[in-house]
């Protein structure tokens, strides 16, 4: 009897100690849609996590979580196992994140690229990737000989259409004859489909290849065909050293660090973040010297102006494909218009798939 009592006492103390310990430690959880080694979207989020971990904050991640019925369980498990802040890093986690947030009011949630903040403990964040596209457009307009830019697009959502428009507008500014040809691949990551799309665009006369998809296949095809290309999400330079002019880099690290510290210190508040070149959430990989030092200087200046607000990617006059005015001369598009953008600007070929 005595032994039994002692044993249960020990186990109760042990459990108590364990749970106190679990409560005391501040932990941040990450949910990824792909494997950490995809060299694109998830890889960059993982780099952001490493930056948080480097501060001495304990972090956990779960990779390759399907965007179906499984997401809710994984997010809930992270919330249940003592994580205080949880980043869900793909659009498909929007509804599950909000659902779990309802049941865990003390846990903070951060959802990337979504628009639903149904509870006060859910924030959303995304990057102004279109500012990077403006720089690419400037370079593309100057570098093209065939006046044809090939664009591999994923899904006809506002983020992707914004990128196409920003790039086309910037290219037109330096080269009025420019045409943007688009292939929709309806995937974020499919090396096979992406390389076919790149080849098709090159066959149609594009001598610049751009992608809003995450694999390194398009830049590799461009390298082989001897045309220019741009990397996406991370610096893809080593996959196509001759062809790549630069890459748009998603740098989540500063945001993850800032929000983790805020949550730890109790200053975290709900917000909708949309950061760009200014805050460093969008960064540019080193520019390829093959485009000439004059052009590099021009682009660097434009990058500074976009960051400081002196230049804006969507400055009027902007016309749609039919010639109707979208943004008046001298005005700039507001964030509301950018967030719901669903028409092409003049100079883009084809229709948006509906």
């Amino acid at each position: 009897m005595y032994k039994l009592f002692l044993r249960s006492l020990i186990s109760v103390l042990f459990l108590l100690g364990f749970s106190l310990n679990a409560n005391a430690e501040f932990k941040v959880g990450f949910v990824y849609v792909g494997p950490t080694g995809d060299h694109g979207w998830t890889y960059q989020h993982h780099e952001g996590r490493n930056a948080v971990e480097a501060l001495g904050i304990k972090t956990t991640y779960v990779e390759s979580v399907p965007e179906g019925a499984d997401a809710e369980r994984v997010i809930r498990q992270l919330a249940q196992s003592g994580h205080d802040l949880i980043f869900t890093t793909s659009f498909g986690y929007m509804d599950p994140t909000n659902k779990v947030a309802k049941d865990f009011p003390n846990v903070k949630f951060e959802h990337a690229t979504g628009y639903k903040r149904e509870h006060s403990n859910v924030s959303t964040y995304s990057a102004r990737f279109y500012e990077g596209r403006t720089l690419l457009g400037h370079m593309a307009g100057k570098m093209t000989k065939t006046n044809t830019i090939g664009y591999i697009a994923s899904f006809p959502i506002p983020e992707v259409i914004r990128g196409i428009n920003a790039m086309t507008l910037a290219a037109q500014k330096v080269n009025p004859d420019i045409k943007t040809k688009i292939v929709w691949v309806f995937t974020w990551y499919d090396p096979g489909k992406e390389s076919e799309a790149a080849q098709a665009l090159i066959d149609q006369g594009a001598d610049i290849i751009m992608q809003h998809t995450d694999s390194t296949a398009p830049v590799q095809v461009a390298e082989k065909a001897g045309v220019w290309s741009f990397g996406q999400a991370s610096d893809m330079q080593r996959f196509a050293p001759k062809s790549i002019l630069t890459s748009i880099i998603d740098d989540w690290a500063p945001y993850y660090v800032e929000r983790s510290i805020a949550a730890r210190d109790g200053t975290w508040k709900q917000q909708d973040t949309w950061h760009g070149l200014k805050e460093g959430m969008v960064a540019m990989a080193p520019y390829n010297s093959a485009m000439g030092s004059d052009l590099v200087k021009e682009v660097e200046q434009l990058q500074k102006d976009l960051a400081s607000g002196k230049a804006h990617s969507f400055t009027g006059p902007i016309y749609d494909q039919k010639g109707n005015i979208l943004v008046a001369e001298g005005a700039v598009a507001d964030d509301g218009m950018l967030a719901g953008m669903n028409v092409y600007v003049k100079g883009v070929e084809g229709d948006i798939p509906q």
Partner: protein, 357 residues
Amino acid sequence: MIKVEKRNDISRSIYFLTPVLAIFLTLFGGGIIFFILGFNPIEALKFFFITPISDLYGLSELLVKATPLCLIAIGLSFCFKSNNWNIGAEGQLIFGGIVGGGVALLFYNHDGFYVLPIIILSGAFGGMLFAMIPAILKTYFNTNEILVSLMLVYVAKLLLDYLVVGPWSNPEGFNFPETRQFSESARMPILFDGLRIHAGIFITLITVFLSWLILYKTYLGFQIKVSGLSLKTAKYAGFKGKTMIIIVFMISGACAGLAGVGEITGPIGQLHRNISPDYGFTAIIVAFLGRLNPIGIIFASLIVALTYLGAETAQIFLQVPKYTGQVFQGMILFFLLGSDYLLFFKIKFLGLKKNEL
């Protein structure tokens, strides 16, 4: 010299015990892998197989995950028992989801007790129709059902892609590739507050019971089993092979369609591109692990579902790579096939004869 001989006397109890043996071997093999990866094997196995189901929520999640696997595997057992190799359950699941989801969208903002049953039946019907394509091609045009059913998976996937990107996409959803959330009347009733386990489990249990009835108590079941054992015997006995092939595919497709509609009206609540994490393919492992037997399949689906949950838990607590879950599924199948070989065949070690040297 080694000689392999077929065994004639296989004990029934050992036949059903080998899957259990395979699971234990997998645990042992998994422990070794964890050890090599630098984790404490006992602790890792605990996080993998015990922690996920140590509370009510975990048990409910296990059933949520096992429900579609069990349904599909039950359907597949009809095909596999009769030597029809339906590899395309994933496509039948997706097509069932498409038809059921389409009906759910048709009933958007429409109340009534009849809404959900109509959706469920149409989902089963969709899966059934889709499975009839390889069946009819096989019976009347002599095509290979493995190839046809597998290729139709991609057809279903692309059709779903087209629908959620285009005509069925949520009008308020900024063009994101997903439909509206279905109305409450089109959702599976939740059994307990705060848990995700839904009424789909009853559909599964009823299906298991019916399939046991069909397989073991009807003439059709007898035909299926005989055709599985020997096609020639079946022909000699005068069984109508073509009708039977079409019927087993219909049953199999309907089950996969039910699984699809259960997912979209249950935990997901809408159509999008990722309604199934390859349940249709994983269910093939489940069907064989369960010895194509209804009761066996129930247990097999629970075990395979646990490998999914375990992989998540082990990654959360120990940061074990997520893909160990798939390694475990692979090991279970490997050990099962391996022990089956030893079960059906006997290996004789004969001494070397002089004249062979």
